[in-house]
Symmetry: C2
C-alpha cells in the first residue's frame, strides 16, 4: 500500500510543538482564569442548521459537512437521490448531511447560551480554546484545522468588561515576552455616525467593509471600492477626512468631534472611548485610538479591538474583538449583549517562535536517561529510576541492552540533559555515574545520594 498522507491543510504536532503550544495555551488560560473566566468546551460537530447562514455566503461554502451514515439503507435511496439534486444546486439537504464541523467558536457559544440561558448565572464569563475547521484553500500560514481562543462576557453592558479585556491582553502579552504589542481601539458607533453624515445610514456595511481593507490595499483602493459602490465624491471626501484623522489622543478626539459631533451616537461613543482609554492607560495597557479600525464582522455594535504584533515582526493582527448587542437573537433569545476578544494562537505561536521567546523548559522533555548495560545492571538502574520518578523527575531507562554508542545517540537525539550509568563496577560500589552531556560535567554518587541529587547543574 502507498504511504498514507495527511489531508491538505492539516498538520501533525510533534512532542516539541505540542509542548510549546501547551505553554502558550496555559499562559493564556491562567490569565483568563485569574480574571474570573471559566472554560467551555463544545462538540466538534454541530447541527448544520446551527451553522448555516451565520458566516455569509462565502462562509457557508467553507463549512465542512458530515455525510449522514447509513445512506446505503434501501429505504433511504430515493430520499438520498433527491438530496443529491439539492446539493448539486448548491443547496443543503438533511437527507445527505445533517451535521457539520465547528467553523468558529462564536456560533457554538451563542448556541450554548441560547440553550442554557435560563440556568446560566449572568454575567456569564467564558473562554474557549478549541480547533475549528474551514475548507479554505490551504496555503502558507492558512490551515483547514486551526485553534481559536475566545474570551467573552455576556449579560453586561458595563464598560468595565472592555477594561478587563484590555488588561487581559496586556497580561498575556507581557507574560509571553511581547510587551511591545499594541491594542488598537475604535467604536462602531463612530462608523454609524460617519455613514449617517454621508447621508445614508444604509451604507454602513459598504463603508466598514471598504475601510476594513485599508491596511492591506491603501487609501486609493478603498476610495475606488467606495466609488464602485456608487458613493458620491462628496461622500468619499468625508470618509477620507475621517480616515486621515491623526495626532495625539486629544487631537484625534477634537477632529472626530468636529467631523461627527452633530450625531448623538458619536458623542456617546467618544465619551466611552475617552473613558476607556484613560482607564486602560492607567493599567499600563498599550492602547491607541484608531479610527481606521473597522472589523469586518457585522455583529459588532460598540467598542472594537485589534491586537497588533510588535513592529519588530512582520505579522499584523494577533487577535481582535468587540462589543455586540445581541449574541443569541439568531437562536430566539434576544437582548443578550456582550463583549469578547479572540486571540490568534497560531499567529502568536509563530511570533514567539520567530523571536525565540518560548522558555527553554517549555520544550523540555525527559531529563535523565539511564543506560542499559545488561540484565542485572538494568535491574539496579530501574530501582534508581523509579526513585527519580517518585520525585517527579522525567527519566527513562533504555529498554534494551544494546551497544553504548546506540544508547548515546538516542540520548543525544532525544535531547536528554543527563545520562546515568550503572555498570558492573558501579553496581559493586552501589554507585551511579551521572553526566551532563551538554556541559560534559560528570559526577559519581552513591545510590543514596542520587535520591536527593538535584538535576540543575
Amino acid at each position: 500500500m502507498a504511504k498514507p498522507s495527511l489531508p491538505p491543510g492539516t498538520r501533525d504536532f510533534s512532542a516539541e510543538v505540542v509542548r510549546k503550544r501547551n505553554f502558550l495555551f496555559n499562559t493564556i488560560r491562567s490569565v483568563f482564569e485569574c480574571y474570573g473566566f471559566g472554560p467551555l468546551e463544545t462538540p466538534a460537530m454541530e447541527q448544520l442548521d446551527t451553522l448555516l447562514g451565520k458566516y455569509g455566503e462565502e462562509g457557508d461554502k467553507l463549512i465542512f459537512k458530515i455525510l449522514n451514515n447509513g445512506l446505503d439503507h434501501p429505504d433511504k435511496e430515493q430520499k438520498t437521490r433527491d438530496a443529491l439534486e439539492q446539493v448539486l444546486k448548491g443547496k443543503n439537504s438533511k437527507d445527505l448531511t445533517e451535521r457539520a464541523l465547528r467553523y468558529d467558536l462564536t456560533i457554538p457559544f451563542a448556541r450554548y447560551v441560547a440553550t442554557w440561558h435560563q440556568q446560566l448565572t449572568l454575567p456569564f464569563k467564558r473562554y474557549q480554546m478549541q480547533p475549528v475547521w474551514r475548507a479554505d484553500r490551504p496555503q502558507r500560514g492558512r490551515y483547514r484545522e486551526f485553534y481559536q481562543c475566545d474570551v467573552d462576557v455576556v449579560g453586561s453592558r458595563s464598560l468595565l468588561n472592555e477594561l478587563e479585556l484590555g488588561c487581559i491582553c496586556h497580561h498575556i502579552f507581557t507574560r509571553l515576552g511581547l510587551p511591545d504589542y499594541s491594542l488598537r481601539i475604535n467604536h462602531r458607533q463612530l462608523l454609524v455616525a460617519l455613514a449617517a453624515r454621508c447621508g445614508d445610514a444604509s451604507q454602513l456595511v459598504t463603508i466598514t467593509t471598504a475601510i476594513d481593507k485599508l491596511d492591506k490595499v491603501g487609501i486609493e483602493k478603498v476610495k475606488e471600492e467606495l466609488a464602485n459602490k456608487n458613493l458620491s465624491a462628496a461622500q468619499i471626501d468625508l470618509i477620507e477626512a475621517y480616515l486621515n484623522i491623526g495626532g495625539s489622543l486629544p487631537q484625534q478626539v477634537e477632529q472626530l468631534r468636529a467631523l461627527l459631533g452633530q450625531r448623538p451616537e458619536a458623542i456617546a461613543a467618544l465619551e466611552e472611548l475617552q473613558q476607556l482609554i484613560e482607564d486602560l492607560q492607567q493599567q499600563q495597557v498599550h492602547v491607541l485610538l484608531d479610527p481606521t479600525l473597522a472589523r469586518g464582522l457585522n455583529y459588532y455594535t460598540g467598542t472594537i479591538f485589534e491586537i497588533k504584533a510588535p513592529a519588530r515582526v512582520n505579522m499584523g493582527s494577533l487577535g481582535g474583538g468587540g462589543r455586540y448587542d445581541d449574541l443569541t437573537g439568531l437562536f430566539g433569545v434576544p437582548g443578550l449583549p456582550g463583549v469578547g476578544l479572540s486571540f490568534g494562537v497560531d499567529r502568536i505561536y509563530d511570533v514567539l517562535e520567530e523571536l525565540q521567546l518560548f522558555p527553554h523548559d517549555s520544550t523540555m522533555g525527559t531529563q535523565v536517561l539511564f543506560f542499559n548495560l545488561g540484565a542485572d545492571e538494568s535491574r539496579a538502574a530501574f530501582v534508581q529510576l523509579q526513585g527519580l520518578r517518585e520525585r517527579g523527575l522525567a527519566a527513562e531507562l533504555y529498554p534494551e541492552s544494546v551497544k553504548f554508542d546506540k544508547q548515546f545517540k538516542y540520548a543525544e537525539k532525544r535531547n536528554f540533559t543527563y545520562i546515568a550509568i550503572i555498570g558492573k563496577e558501579e553496581m559493586a560500589k552501589q554507585q551511579v555515574n551521572v553526566k551532563n552531556i551538554r556541559s560534559g560535567e560528570q559526577r559519581t554518587c552513591s545510590w543514596k545520594e542520587l535520591a536527593t541529587l538535584s538535576f540543575t547543574w
Copy 2:
C-alpha cells in the same frame, strides 16, 4: 427560529466539568511525561483511505465521513452522481467523500509513524489524548464524540516496556485515589497455544472472540457460541478447562503448563508472564494473571492487559492494551513492534465522580468577588482587584453597580468563597471588608494589608 439543539451523542462541557476533566488529563499526562513519553497530536480528519478497512466491516460503517466541498461545481456533476451510486451500494467514492473523522488514536499513530519512521528516534514513546468520533447509536455512557488516551512505545521488544506500562497504570490510579484498581494480564501466545491444542490454529480468532465475551455472557453462552462455530465437544472441553484455571499464581502456572506445556510458544509466554508479574509485584502494581482475558482486537501478539475498576464501583474495564508485532505494516512499513495501553478517560471520570474523588481545588473557579457599590467605589475596588490578580489569585469585580442582593446571589451561584466590599466608609478609611461566605467569618483590613492577605481562612 426554534431553539438550536446538539447533535445526538455529543455534549457541551461546562466550566466545572472541563476543570475536572483537566485535572484527570493533567494527572495522567504528568505520569506519562515522568516515564519519558512525549505528546503527539494528529488532525481530527484523516484521508478516508487511511481509516477504511482498519476497524472491520462494522467499524467502517461507524466512521463519520466528510462531504467534499464544491460539489455544486457544474464540471463535477456527473462524477458526483456516479459517486452517489457507489455510496448507495455501500461503497465509498472519493468524488463524494475523501476525508473522515478520526475513529481511534491507533491508526492515526500508525499513519504518523509510517510517514515519519525514518526521522523518528526509536524506541519512539508517545502519548496522545484527543477526541475520536463514532456514529454509534447514542445511549447512556456511549457518545459519538469521546476522548481516548493512549500511550505506546514502538521499536522495542523489551519486556521492560510492559513493566513500565504497568507502573504507569499503578502511578495514575494511586494518584487519582483509586489504589484498589487491578491490572489483569495474559499473553496472546497462550491463546495461540490453546487453539493449536484444539488441533486447529485457524480457530484462534473464533476462540478469542468467544472468550472475550465471558465476563458479559457467562461460560454457557461462550460454549454455545463455540458449538455454533462448529467446534467439537472435545475442543470445547479443552477450552472450558483452560477457562477454569484458577488459584494462586504458581497454581495457575502449573495448570497452564499441564494444559499447554507441549507448545513452545506457551512455554515462552509463561516465562515472560512470570517474569513480568514478579517485576510488577516488586513495584507494588496490583497485577493478576487472568487466562480468560482475550482482548477483542486481533493485532495483539504478546502480553495483553486490562485495567479493572475497584470492586466498590460497578464499572468494569477502565482501559487495556497489549503488545503487537507490526504497527505499521498496513501502511507499507513492516517490522515495527510495540506495546501500548489505552485509558478509558470518560469511564475513569465517572468513577472519580461517583466516589467523589475529584479534589476540591480541581473544580475551584474564581475565589474573590469585589462588590460594585458605585462609580468611585468600583474604581477603588478595581485597583485592589488588580493587586490580587498580580499575585495570581482569581478574582472579579461585579461589572455593574446593582442591588447588593443581586451581587450576593451572583457570588453564591458562581461559588465564590470570599466577597470583598469597598463602600463609602471603607473608601474613606482605605479599608476593605472581606467575608468568607461559607464560614461567615469576616475581616476588615487596610488596602495595604489586603495586598498580602492569604485567602485560606
